[in-house]
Symmetry: C2
Subunit: 254 residues, 2 copies
């Protein structure tokens, strides 16, 4: 499994991913799922992938090849974020076209999805989710985050804390805690954690972090958050139990 998320706020972007891959529970590996295709000073492009590894690796390989071959369309010259998302979707479709019939025959899950976050000079930052079918959606002021992979465990903290006005450092902290909650509840999501924070109009990634398995900072954050949640939980008042009707007699409880 995988968990990647992207957040867009007034101040910029946060992109994060885990690095665990599994083929069944008995074959667990580590693969980076966050890729930086930026051209510092000109454009920032961060890609995260989830789903069938052979297909997502294939997509990344083609994206790199097109840059190296200086193709008419590549990640370094496509003029808008929307067109970049559509271009990545078209590469995804190319590989799906070739491999899907073979995977389908053996009932192998061929689905995958990608997150694309970034900014091209002269345009605002944008955050896209590219679906397994190659189509895409983008995050908006109302829905400031997009997730792929194992999305549910880490969603409550995002729902409770994020808005478009959240400051960027808080958004990054929230992303890390969202991944931590997911790792806690699903062992198929795991370190290294890749985290990037990008400030609007800087056109360079100044904040980047990779937290490996056993990293003391990751352990510290996890412990701190666990204690904070426990304290918050302890401070919550006990339930106010009400009347309970039992048989024909009303018993007042507590």
């Amino acid at each position: 499994m995988t968990y990647c998320l992207g957040i867009i706020t007034r101040a910029g972007l946060v992109i994060a991913s885990d690095s665990r891959t599994n083929a069944g529970v008995d074959y667990i590996s580590t693969y980076q799922k966050l890729f930086d295709f930026s051209v510092p000073g000109e454009r920032v492009l961060i890609l995260c992938s989830s789903g069938n590894l052979s297909i997502t690796q294939g997509i990344i390989t083609i994206l790199e090849k097109d840059i190296q071959g200086n193709e008419a369309n590549n990640l370094h010259n496509i003029p808008t974020m929307y067109e970049v998302a559509r271009y990545i979707g078209s590469k995804l479709r190319e590989i799906q076209n070739e491999d899907r019939p073979w995977l389908e025959k053996d009932r192998i899950d061929f689905s995958c999805s990608l997150l694309l976050g970034g900014q091209i000079k002269g345009q605002p930052p944008e955050l896209y989710l590219i679906y397994s079918q190659g189509n895409c959606i983008h995050a908006t002021r109302d829905t400031t985050f997009l997730q792929i992979g194992e999305t549910k465990y880490g969603k409550p903290i995002l729902d409770r804390t994020l808005t478009f006005e959240t400051d960027l450092a808080a958004a990054a902290k929230c992303a890390l805690l969202s991944i931590d909650s997911t790792m806690k509840s699903n062992i198929s999501v795991g370190p290294p954690i890749d985290l990037i924070m990008y400030q609007t109009d800087s056109f360079v990634i100044k904040h980047q972090l990779r937290l490996a398995l056993g990293d003391p900072y990751l352990a510290k954050i996890r412990k701190l958050w666990e204690n904070s949640v426990k304290e918050a939980f302890d401070r919550m008042p006990d339930i106010e139990w009400q009347y309970k009707r039992e048989s024909d007699e009303n018993i007042l409880i507590d």
Copy 2:
């Protein structure tokens, strides 16, 4: 969708469920999913259901009919919790046998699952999950909670706070917050919330709560928890960004 959970601790049991049912997003209804089959003073039996509503309603109807008909095997005379779980599983199989081919033909999801918590005099309390196939597992000291339905959003809070030694009032509070997190992230889980707290060896349910849509207590708990989580979040230190290697030059960040 549905979300039900059961918790077993040294002190007793907590069982909770939502009451929202949907057939697609355009047909949302309210159905109670928590059923009390207790015989006060003798046995406490609480059942929660999730999945295909026609099948789970059918199971409940048969269970009631067997009690009313004073059948050789019914919920009021079966001697152990394990046998009760197996008996419920056999009723589930009866209905699946009859309906499944018809549902399968039209690709209608016929799966369902049940939680069974309770205590029969002379035996310890137990908590079972009965699968759609009629087989079952029970919670243990190592795994003190079982969930059915939309289980993921509400799992992190359980993972972070529950152990077999958690006191019963805290376990009940935890169950309510777990349901609240689920309702916050998935609108197909919703009130009324049914919540039961049972103290070992009391053989009567003294603590029971039904929180309807718009209930001010539910709104208060939600607001309190939201504020507590936000405060916990605010108290967390910002991320300590490290060196980032960029091209060939090392830049110290912050």
